[in-house]
């Protein structure tokens, strides 16, 4: 724990609601590429990710940490990136849904356990929770009118890309490419950050 505290970058700027304001973005390492969008500020990335890491290591038990850390990586990436991006919003929505599901599952479990005999409640609760989760996602999809119809010049492989990029199933091909570019930049920054952290921790 102490190691992590010291490893944190020098005091990060107070988390303003839009971390991509000019003040922070000016510290971004990467120059703005031709498309006009810069890669996310490394400081914001580090800030969010390290905070999440600290929370995980103090709260979550060991056996399930990989998944949690991976999710924390994506959430911190989404928070540090441009919040107006479609993939960012899709990622954050995912996080919210999962949190809602988890809280709902906890509530249902507790209710079930208290009300019904302890044997079968897990299965029932799980089915209920999954239904709730599904309806939530369904509602979201339906509200957006479903995925756009197949476009003319869109190649066949594009749906693989749609699956990879968060929120990609509802985008047009043109904007999908744009989102992919931004997503790639953020992903690369995130991977570099994590790699640096690993080196830092294992190099001591």
């Amino acid at each position: 724990m102490a190691r992590k505290r010291t490893a944190r970058p020098p005091p990060p700027p107070p988390p303003n609601p839009n971390p991509n304001r000019r003040a922070v973005a000016s510290t971004a390492a990467a120059p703005a590429p031709a498309s006009g969008t810069a890669s996310p500020s490394k400081r914001m990335l580090a800030f969010h990710f390290l905070r999440a890491l600290a929370r995980i290591h103090s709260a979550t038990p060991v056996p399930r940490r990989t998944r949690t850390i991976r999710r924390a990586a994506y959430s911190s990436m989404a928070r540090a990136a441009n919040p107006r991006r479609a993939w960012t919003q899709a990622l954050l929505r995912q996080v919210r849904v999962r949190r809602a599901m988890r809280s709902r599952r906890a509530v249902l479990l507790r209710r079930r356990v208290s009300a019904a005999p302890p044997a079968p409640p897990l299965g029932a609760a799980r089915s209920i929770v999954s239904a709730a989760g599904e309806t939530a996602t369904e509602a979201m999809t339906l509200a957006r009118g479903g995925p756009p119809p197949r476009q003319a010049g869109e190649p066949a492989r594009a749906d693989a890309l749609r699956r990879l990029v968060p929120g990609g199933s509802e985008m047009e091909y043109c904007s999908l490419l744009d989102e992919t570019a931004d997503y790639l930049r953020c992903l690369r920054a995130q991977v570099q950050l994590m790699q640096n952290l690993v080196d830092l921790f294992s190099g001591q």
């Binding site: 060991v62 990989t66 010049g153 190649p155």
Partner: protein, 457 residues
């Protein structure tokens, strides 16, 4: 057709000469006409320059506004045929007059005519442009005249004529008919001249149109009108149709879309390494693979983080105690190893992830047998460094190692005990390799294609 030829020649001459200044100016913000006229040989145009100076402020703003827009938006498209008719005019004029060497006088005469016409047009015919701008709809803020020009150069002079006639009817200007006739006529006549004179076309690109715009525009009103007509989509890029291509809105939209996709693919190409593929399909494959690779890296790194951060503290104490112990850990280690191996084998059947986590929790890592044997052979003469390094290095090494997914019977791997010497060796090798350590270990892992070892670019 006297006025027509006169206009054509005048405009061509004016455009031809002033374009050089224009290009020199490059996106001028000042009075456009001033530049246009100022650059002319003063001897030839003393009176004209002064005369036009008065009118310059009026038309300059509007003309240069349009010109500016053009420069900013359509630099490339200029060469591509934005001002075909002006190019054609210029080329024709060149052919007939300028090249002969007697161009000076004719140019001067032409310029005089141009300026006079500009003056006339400005005062009397700004309505024309307004009407034309509106009638051509939301084609963009390029100015009313240019829209019909662009459409016309697309290859249907008849359309231009019809368009201009409609505009003329709405605006009620007589010269509009003349203009329309001039344009259409020039288009139809000059289209064959287009090809051999790409240069002249480039040179004359913005100016004659601007001249027209300036002449017809007059005060800022026409600009307001034209841009108001085009203000429906002022920033919308006006794609000039190339010669021989259709001009209906569907194909234009299609072309726009394709261009947008192409530029996005180019931007992606810069991001993705190894992007020498010219084929769009393979480029897309490359992109998909790269995204998958990065996501895999995140996954692997998050796995390694477990061992690196969480397990370090308790295991540091462990290692130091083991280092001091010497013999007892060996004995205890063997028992522990057997149990561990059984556990790992059991876990590997169900899920690799949990197996690896279990190993990490113990400070062990999986590696191919060949590597293990190599390390053990080299172990003998290695001096143990600080114990804490070992486990951390093991975790790091773990991150770098990639086991074949769905290990075939586990024949290729063996659990490497975290005996001090072994882990030390691992640490040593890791440190020795330095920056390339991850790569080296990645290559060891017999999974070259997976490259899960996070290589540092």
């Amino acid at each position: 057709m006297q006025p027509t030829t006169r206009e054509m020649q005048a405009m061509a001459a004016a455009g031809q000469i002033s374009l050089d200044d224009l290009r020199a100016a490059g996106g001028v913000h000042d009075d456009f006409l001033d530049q246009m006229l100022g650059g002319l040989p003063p001897s030839a145009w003393p009176e004209l320059a002064s005369a036009a100076g008065a009118k310059a402020p009026e038309g300059g703003a509007e003309a240069e506004g349009m010109h500016q827009q053009h420069h900013q938006q359509q630099q490339q498209q200029f060469g591509g045929g934005l001002y075909d008719e002006s190019a054609l005019l210029a080329s024709r004029l060149r052919q007939h007059q300028i090249s002969g060497g007697g161009g000076a006088e004719s140019a001067a005469a032409a310029k005089q005519m141009v300026l006079q016409q500009l003056a006339d047009l400005r005062h009397g015919h700004h309505m024309l442009l307004q009407g034309m701008g509106r009638s051509t709809g939301g084609g963009g803020g390029d100015g009313g005249v240019l829209l019909p020009l662009s459409l016309g150069s697309g290859g249907s002079g008849g359309d231009v004529q019809a368009l201009l006639k409609a505009a003329a009817n709405s605006a009620g200007g007589e010269a509009s008919g003349v203009f329309g006739g001039a344009f259409a006529g020039s288009l139809q006549q000059q289209q064959q001249h287009f090809q051999p004179h790409p240069q002249s076309q480039q040179q004359t690109a913005p100016l004659p149109g601007q001249g027209f715009g300036g002449g017809g525009g007059g005060a800022s009103q026409p600009q307001a009108g034209a841009s108001g007509g085009g203000a429906a989509a002022p920033p919308r890029q006006r794609v000039r149709a190339r010669r021989g291509q259709a001009t209906d809105p569907h194909s234009i939209a299609e072309r726009l879309r394709r261009e947008r996709i192409a530029e996005r693919m180019k931007a992606l190409q810069e991001l993705v390494p190894n992007a020498n593929k010219t084929d769009k399909a393979s480029m897309l494959d490359e992109i998909i693979d790269y995204v998958k690779f990065l996501q895999l890296q995140v996954k692997v790194l998050s796995m390694s983080r477990l061992g690196g951060a969480a397990a370090v503290a308790p295991l540091v104490a462990d290692m130091s105690s083991e280092g001091q112990g010497g013999a007892p850990p060996a004995a205890a280690g063997s028992d522990g190893l057997a149990v561990t191996e059984q556990q790992v084998a059991k876990l590997m059947e169900e899920d690799m992830g949990t197996a690896m986590q279990y190993l990490q929790g113990k400070g062990l890592c999986l590696m191919p047998v060949s590597l293990a044997s190599a390390i053990s052979s080299a172990t003998c003469h290695m001096r143990p460094p600080v114990g804490g390094l070992g486990v951390a290095a093991a975790a790091h090494h773990m991150a770098a190692m990639r086991l074949p997914p769905g290990m075939n019977g586990g024949a290729d791997a063996a659990a490497v005990p975290a005996s001090p010497s072994m882990s030390v060796l691992t640490a040593q090798s890791a440190m020795a390799n330095g920056a390339g350590g991850a790569d080296g270990e990645g290559s060891h892992s017999q999974q070259p294609k997976d490259a899960a070892s996070v290589s540092k670019p």
